[in-house]
C-alpha cells in the first residue's frame, strides 16, 4: 500500500526539484578558440539528449565557428579528431550569439533583470524548484573569466549573482561547472546555499586542450570537457550515476591539471545526487493501478508527507506489470531450447530417442 511506498518515497523527491534549466556559455571568440565552442556544444548536446528542451536551455556562444571563413568543413563543429562527432548538428538553437555574449547579459540572464522586450528564449525563467546547470568555458585566470577578449567577470561578481538568485528564489539547486585555466578560483567565493561546483583545474594550473585536428588546424576540445563528454555519453535518463562519479571524471593522469570540486554549500550528500538531477530533465511519473486516498481523516500520517510521494524513477521504469495469466515463453527462450535439443540429438544420435520415450 502507499504507506510502505511512503518509506521508499523519501528517497524519491529528496532532490525537491520539478524542472531543469541549463545556462551554457562560451566566452571566447576568434578562430583559435574553436575548442571553447566545441566544449559548450558538447555539453549542450548531452543536456538535450538527456531531456532538457531548448526552451529551458540558454545557450550563449561568443563566436560562430561553424560558419567561420577559416573552417574547412563549413557548418560543422567537431569534437573528436578525424571528425567523428559533429556537435553542431541540425537543431542547435543559440540564444545569445556573437557580441551579445557579455558579462552584463550573462548576469542579467542569471538574475532575471532583463528588459521587458527580451524574448522568452533569452530568459532564464527558473523558479524555486528549478535545478540549474551552469557551464562556463573560455580563458580565465585567478579570480576572473575573460569575456570576448575585452571584459572580465570576477568570482566575486559571480558569487553575488548567485546570492541574488538565491534571495529571489530562482533556483532550488545549482551545479556550476567551469572549464578554464585556474577554474577553481571562480568558485572560491560562493556563499549561497545549494551550490555544487566543479572546475577543470586548480589555482595556478592551466587547463589544457585535448587534441588538434590537422585538417581543421585548431585544437578541437579541452581535456576536461572531452572526458566529461565521454562520461556523459554513457548516461541515459534512467541512469543512477551520482555526483561522486562526476567528481572522478578526468583524473590528473588524463587531464594533466587537477580538477576540483566544492560541495560544502550543498545540503544533500553528493552520493545521493543523481547526474540526471542536473543534466537531464527527468519527469517523475508513477503508474498506479489502485486508488490512493489522500484525504482520509482517520489516519494521520506519522510524519509529514514529503513533497510528492512517489516511487523512485528507476523502480518505475524497470517495473513489470504483475502477471496474472500464464503466457507462453518468449520466442528467444523457445528458440534456445530448440537449439539445445537439436545439439543433443545430433551429438548422441537419433537412436537414443528411444531411451527417452
Amino acid at each position: 500500500d502507499w504507506k510502505s511506498n511512503l518509506l521508499t518515497s523519501t528517497q524519491f523527491f529528496n532532490s525537491g526539484h520539478t524542472n531543469n534549466w541549463a545556462v551554457l556559455v562560451c566566452t571566447s571568440r576568434f578562430w583559435f578558440n574553436y575548442r571553447h565552442v566545441a566544449n559548450v556544444l558538447s555539453v549542450y548536446r548531452s543536456v538535450k539528449r538527456l531531456g532538457i528542451p531548448d526552451s529551458h536551455i540558454v545557450l550563449m556562444l561568443a563566436d560562430d565557428m561553424a560558419c567561420n571563413h577559416r573552417n574547412p568543413k563549413p557548418a560543422t563543429v567537431f569534437s573528436h579528431k578525424n571528425m567523428e562527432l559533429n556537435v553542431y548538428g541540425d537543431d542547435v538553437e543559440v540564444d545569445y550569439r556573437g557580441y551579445e555574449v557579455t558579462v552584463e547579459n550573462f548576469l542579467r540572464v542569471l538574475t532575471g533583470r532583463l528588459p521587458p522586450s527580451t524574448p522568452r528564449s533569452k530568459r532564464l525563467l527558473s523558479d524555486d524548484r528549478s535545478n540549474i546547470l551552469i557551464y562556463l568555458t573560455g580563458h580565465g585566470g585567478n579570480g576572473f573569466l575573460k569575456f570576448q577578449d575585452s571584459e572580465e567577470i570576477s568570482n566575486v561578481e559571480l558569487a553575488d549573482a548567485f546570492e541574488q538568485m538565491w534571495q529571489k528564489r530562482r533556483y532550488n539547486e545549482l551545479l556550476f561547472i567551469i572549464d578554464t585555466c585556474q577554474g577553481a578560483s571562480m568558485y572560491e567565493r560562493f556563499y549561497s546555499p545549494n551550490i555544487m561546483a566543479l572546475a577543470s583545474s586548480q589555482v595556478g594550473e592551466d587547463s589544457l586542450s585535448h587534441q588538434p585536428d590537422l585538417a581543421i588546424g585548431v585544437h578541437l576540445m579541452d581535456r576536461y570537457t572531452f572526458y566529461l563528454l565521454e562520461f556523459l555519453e554513457d548516461i541515459h535518463p534512467a541512469s543512477q550515476a551520482n555526483m561522486n562519479d562526476l567528481f572522478k571524471v578526468c583524473p590528473k593522469s588524463q587531464c594533466v591539471s587537477t580538477p576540483g570540486h566544492r560541495t560544502d554549500l550543498f545540503l544533500r550528500d553528493p552520493r545521493s545526487v543523481l547526474i540526471t538531477d542536473f543534466f537531464g530533465s527527468v519527469r517523475k511519473v508513477e503508474i498506479t493501478r489502485e486508488a490512493v486516498n489522500l484525504t482520509s481523516a482517520a489516519e494521520q500520517p506519522s510524519e509529514p508527507l514529503s513533497y510528492v510521494d512517489q516511487l523512485p524513477v528507476a523502480e518505475i521504469i524497470h517495473q513489470k506489470p504483475k502477471q496474472k495469466d500464464w503466457h507462453p515463453p518468449d520466442g528467444f527462450i523457445l528458440g534456445l531450447w530448440t537449439l539445445i535439443l537439436l545439439v543433443f540429438f545430433k551429438t548422441y544420435g537419433i537412436k537414443h530417442l528411444k531411451h527417452i520415450f
Binding site: 576568434f30 578562430w31 567561420n68 571563413h69 577559416r70 573552417n71 574547412p72 563549413p74 585538417a215 585548431v218
Partner: protein, 555 residues
C-alpha cells in the same frame, strides 16, 4: 595532405621550374598574365618609370622602366577586407629564377582550398625594390618618392602580412630569414618565430644573417658566434636600407619578411615541394590571424633565431651614453652660471654676462649647418660640372664631391673664427660646447628611438669626442682622434667590420671602393625609397661634429 601531393600538380610545378631555369631577359609579362589567369587569379599589371639621380653602378641601372604583375586570389567566403602578399622579385639576371615558379605552383594549390579568410596577392615585381616601391605607393595611394606609375586597377583590402621569396636554385640546403627593413624598421618578432617554428616542424634548416645556429650557449665560441650574429644585425639595421623586398612594406605597418634560399655544399638538400609546404603552412597561420601581429616586440636584436634582445635590455646601454652628455652639459652650465672667482684683473673686469648670449654661438652653428646642407645637396647637383671637368663617372663624381665637402669642413675653424664674437673668451667655447652637447644628446636620442643601431653606433664614437673635447688639449693628437671618430670614419670602420663578420674580409683598397659604393647607395636609397640615414648624417650629425671641431680649434 599538403601541397603537391597530387602528382599532376607536381608535374606542373617541375615543368614550370625547368622552364624558368632559362635566362629571361626582361619580364615575360604576357606569359605571366596568361599563366596566372589560367590558375584562376584576377590578374592586373602596373607599369612604372623612374630616373635615378645618378647611375647605380651596383645594379647597373639609371633610367628604370618596368612592369609589376600581380594576381589576386579572392577568399571564397570572406569579405574582401584583408589581404596577404606573397611576392617574388623578377630580375633580368638569374638571381631569382625559381621563385616565380614556386609562386605559381602555390597559387594553383591555394586556389583549390576553401579555408582562406583573406585575399592572397601573388606579386611579381620587376627591378626589385623600385618595382616594389611603385606597387606599394600605388596600392596605398601615396607618392612619397616621386615615382611615376600607373594606378592599380585591382585591389584587395588592407594588407596584414607579406612574404618575399628569393630562390635561385631548385634545391636548397637552408633558408635564410631577412628581417631588416627601411630605416632599420623590423617586423614583429612573431613573424620570425613563426618562420623558425615552421622550419623546425618541417625539418628545413633555417638561418639568420646567413649564420647557422650553434647549440652551445655556455662556451666562449658559442657566445662569440651569437655576438657576431647580433653585430651583423646591428650593422644591417644601422645602414637603414631595406635588405630584402619586404623592407618597404614595414613603412605601411605591414609585417613582412624575406625568405631567401641558400644552396651551399651540404649534403642534405631540400626541394621546392618542401619549401612550398613551409610557405603553405605559414600562410595558413597568417590566414588564421584576426588582428595585425602586435603581441610581440617590434624592437629587438637577434643573436640567433631562438634568442632575442628586447628594447628593454638594450636601451639602458644607450641611456647611459646619453647621460654622459647630459652630465657634461650640466657641469658646463654650472661653470657658466657661477661667475669666474679667479680673475687676473681686479676692478677693471667687466662683470661677466650672467648668461652668455646664445647669439654669440649662432655663427658657428649656422656655418656648420650650411656646410651640412652643402654636403646634402651639392654632390647630386654638381655631378654634371664634375663630369665635365674630371675624368670620372657620375657616380664617382657624386661620391667624391661628398667626400671633398666633408673634408673641406675640416678647414672651417681657421676661416671662420674671425667672424665669431666672443672669441678668445673662456665663456665662448663653453657656451658653444653646451649647445653642441645638448644638440647631440637630442639628436642621438631621437635617432636611437627610431633606429637604435644607428643611434648607438654614432653614440659610441661621438660621445667620447663630445664629452672630452676642449680647446686646451694638444691640438694635433686631438684633431687626429676627432677625425678618427667622425661619422665618415665610423662608416669606414663599419664597412670593414661588416665584411669581417660576413667572413669575407677585404683588403684596404677593396674596402675603400666598398666604402665609396656605400656612400652612393646611401644617397640613392634616400632619393628612391626615402631612407633617412643620409640626410640625418649630412644635415644633422655632421654639423654637430663640426661644432665640436670648432671647439677644438677655438682661439
Amino acid at each position: 595532405m599538403g601541397l603537391l601531393s597530387d602528382p599532376n600538380r607536381r608535374k606542373a610545378l617541375t615543368s614550370l621550374l625547368t622552364r624558368l631555369n632559362t635566362p629571361i631577359w626582361g619580364m615575360p609579362v604576357e606569359w605571366l598574365v596568361k599563366t596566372m589567369q589560367a590558375r584562376g587569379l584576377e590578374v592586373f599589371t602596373q607599369s612604372f618609370t623612374r630616373t635615378l639621380p645618378f647611375p647605380d653602378e651596383n645594379k647597373e641601372r639609371y633610367m628604370v622602366r618596368g612592369t609589376n604583375i600581380y594576381g589576386i586570389l579572392r577568399a571564397p567566403r570572406a569579405p574582401r577586407t584583408e589581404a596577404l602578399v606573397l611576392s617574388a622579385p623578377c630580375s633580368p639576371d638569374n638571381s631569382n629564377n625559381q621563385a616565380v615558379g614556386l609562386l605559381l605552383g602555390l597559387a594553383q594549390y591555394f586556389r583549390s582550398q576553401i579555408y582562406w579568410a583573406k585575399d592572397i596577392i601573388f606579386l611579381v615585381n620587376e627591378h626589385d625594390l623600385i618595382g616594389m616601391q611603385a606597387w606599394l605607393e600605388g596600392y596605398h595611394h601615396t607618392n612619397i618618392t616621386g615615382m611615376d606609375y600607373t594606378p592599380l586597377q585591382g585591389r584587395a583590402g588592407s594588407i596584414q602580412a607579406a612574404l618575399s621569396l628569393e630562390l635561385s636554385s631548385d634545391v636548397i640546403t637552408s633558408l635564410d630569414l631577412v628581417l631588416e627593413g627601411l630605416n632599420g624598421q623590423l617586423p614583429n618578432l612573431d613573424l620570425a618565430n613563426l618562420f623558425h617554428a615552421f622550419c623546425q616542424k618541417i625539418g628545413v634548416l633555417c638561418t639568420i644573417q646567413g649564420k647557422l645556429q650553434r647549440g652551445d650557449w655556455d662556451t666562449a665560441e658559442g657566445y662569440t658566434h651569437a655576438v657576431q650574429t647580433m653585430m651583423l644585425m646591428v650593422l644591417k639595421q644601422a645602414s637603414g636600407r631595406p635588405w630584402g623586398d619586404h623592407g618597404l612594406f614595414l613603412r605601411y605597418h605591414i609585417e613582412a619578411a624575406s625568405v631567401r634560399g641558400i644552396n651551399s655544399f651540404r649534403q642534405y638538400k631540400t626541394d621546392a615541394t618542401t619549401i612550398g609546404r613551409l610557405l603553405e603552412g605559414m600562410f595558413r597561420k597568417l590566414n588564421n590571424l584576426l588582428e595585425r601581429l602586435h603581441q610581440s616586440y617590434f624592437f629587438y636584436l637577434m643573436p640567433s633565431l631562438t634568442h632575442f634582445v628586447s628594447i628593454g635590455y638594450y636601451m639602458p646601454a644607450f641611456g647611459l651614453l646619453a647621460t654622459i652628455l647630459l652630465l657634461r652639459a650640466l657641469d658646463l652650465w654650472v661653470q657658466l652660471g657661477t661667475p669666474a672667482q679667479v680673475t687676473e684683473d681686479g676692478a677693471g673686469e667687466v662683470e661677466p654676462p650672467s648668461s652668455p648670449g646664445v647669439l654669440s654661438v649662432l655663427t658657428p652653428v649656422v656655418i656648420s649647418h650650411l656646410t651640412g646642407v652643402a654636403l646634402y645637396t651639392l654632390p647630386v647637383l654638381s655631378q654634371e660640372t664634375a663630369v665635365e671637368h674630371f675624368p670620372v663617372s657620375e657616380t664617382e663624381a657624386v661620391v667624391l664631391t661628398a667626400i671633398a665637402i666633408y673634408t673641406a669642413g675640416l678647414a672651417l675653424p681657421h676661416n671662420t673664427h674671425r667672424f665669431i664674437s666672443g672669441e678668445g673668451t673662456e665663456q665662448g667655447w663653453r657656451v658653444l660646447k653646451l649647445v653642441a652637447l645638448l644638440y647631440l644628446a637630442v639628436l642621438l636620442g631621437c635617432t636611437a628611438l627610431i633606429n637604435f643601431s644607428l643611434g648607438f653606433i654614432l653614440a659610441i664614437t661621438l660621445v667620447p669626442a663630445a664629452a672630452c673635447v676642449t680647446p686646451h688639449m694638444p691640438k694635433a693628437l686631438t684633431a687626429l682622434a676627432m677625425v678618427l671618430l667622425s661619422p665618415g670614419c665610423t662608416l669606414l670602420y663599419c664597412v670593414f667590420i661588416f665584411q669581417e663578420l660576413q667572413e669575407a674580409p677585404v683588403t684596404l683598397p677593396e674596402g675603400w671602393m666598398l666604402f665609396l659604393s656605400v656612400i652612393s647607395q646611401g644617397i640613392l636609397d634616400h632619393s628612391l625609397y626615402g631612407s633617412l640615414v643620409y640626410p640625418l648624417l649630412a644635415l644633422l650629425i655632421y654639423p654637430c661634429w663640426l661644432l665640436l671641431w670648432n671647439i677644438l680649434f677655438w682661439k
